[in-house]
Amino acid sequence: MISQDDLAALLERLCPMFVLLDQSGHVQQVGPTLQKLRPDQPMAGQRFLELFELMRPRSISTMPGLLAVSGAKLHLQFRDEPHTALKGIIVPLPDDAGAVVNLSFGISILDAVRDYALTSADFSGTDLAIELLYLVEAKSAAMEASRTLNLRLQGAMIAAEEQAYTDTLTGLKNRRAMDHILERLTTSSASFALMHLDLDFFKAVNDTLGHAAGDHVLQQVARVMVEETRGDDTVARVGGDEFVLIFNGLQDKVRLDSIASRLITRLEEPIPFQSDVCRISASIGTVQSSQFNTPEPAEVLHAADLALYSAKRSGRACHHFYDRSMSDLMGTSALSKGETQDHT
């Protein structure tokens, strides 16, 4: 039979976190790594269950109780701070000579190497602790690299989306953005009003003063429309000289009419361009979401189109609200099919 000292010497090399217990459950010897966790507190001589609290299986408080769960996985923690969690297994020695407990860190390994400044020399050569630490760091490094890549890609995506939804000449939203917003408003059954605005005499500016003048006029028009609307309203350029304005939560006809009149008045102000002065006006058709039971984007745009058409027919610079009698005066609307349409 191997002597206790020889056994301890053997265990020290194979499992540096062993505990050798006598019959009464007192610690006789401990492995160097385990003792390193409590450098100022020699473990030998203390009662094992006073050093460690058995978390699972619970309510074991005696040595015979411990021996009865021999072979099962034990979950323990230190009774004093830091309560590092440990896993263990207890095996009785022959002839009722006590028992050997082998402990390891399990998942608490990350905190343990930091809390106790452990080095690779503290682990047995067959212990996978170092590989586990390696893996954790390798994965963190790879994740970090992926995360920064994702952030950059997300930034690029936001910029690309912004660009895809913006009319580059005026900085207003474009047709695609307007379609998205209208889709969102109709599916969420939000209340809103939609204006379809078409510039009058714009073609004349383009024809007589050239495209540079036309572009300048469009930019000024865009500025006016942004100034005359609220921050959460939508102003989109949906065609050459066609615009759609969407007013969130606004249904009041008096207010809508005054906004439309003000827009027309301001758009009629002469726009200087180099040595020339450009004069345009606008016609507007307005529709309210409350005019439909369940508004569909195509339906709403078609209605706004009809109102605009009606406004154009009564001369320039007019604003008309949509009403049901207008239906199909003009057949299928080009705007509701997603094409631009020249009313001028």
Partner: protein
């Protein structure tokens, strides 16, 4: 650099897969820009990967290979497997360390990544510094399609070296 390499893209991302020929174009453009031969640039790249604070995580991962430089050299056989543990689609050419005498080693870099042996010379030189060892490294020709690096260890504890604390995490 990406412009000079005529890649048709602005960013060359660390975590994305590119065609090998594209990688080579970037490296050649880099060598041209620096006005130095490519193998030298690749050695510097290897040194950078270990010694620059930006890539501290990589230095730490390499230090997990062993407690001293010799143990680290022996861990190189496992390097491709270790790399694959971290990033599953990162495959490095296999490496083989031979010990000829107590202080004489050679490292065979098997084919698969042209110029990898130059990067490894930079890495091994910087890791010698990291461990505080004094080592001489040089290309010593080819063996078939493989490239061989000779390593002469002059002193294992020449200098203090940099500390490696298991519990610290890279930045």
């Amino acid at each position: 650099m990406t412009e000079a390499a005529n890649l048709g893209l602005v960013e060359f991302e660390a975590m994305l897969m590119y065609d090998d020929s594209m990688t080579l174009q970037v490296l050649e453009a880099m060598a041209e820009e620096l006005g130095r031969p490519l193998p030298e640039v690749l050695e510097d790249l290897g040194t950078y990967l270990v010694s620059n604070p930006n890539t501290e995580a990589l230095r730490r991962l390499l230090r997990f290979g062993g407690v001293n430089y010799v143990e680290f050299l022996h861990s190189l056989d496992d390097l491709p497997d270790r790399a694959r543990l971290a990033v599953s689609d990162l495959s490095l050419p296999s490496l083989e360390l031979d010990e000829h005498a107590q202080n004489e080693f050679s490292l065979t870099c098997h084919p698969g990544l042209p110029g990898f042996e130059s990067v490894m010379i930079g890495v091994l030189r910087a890791m010698a510094d990291d461990y505080g060892a004094l080592a001489m490294l040089e290309h010593s020709g080819s063996r078939g399609a493989s490239k061989v690096i000779s390593i002469t260890l002059i002193e294992t504890s020449f200098a203090e070296g940099r500390s490696f604390d298991l519990g610290a995490t890279a930045r």
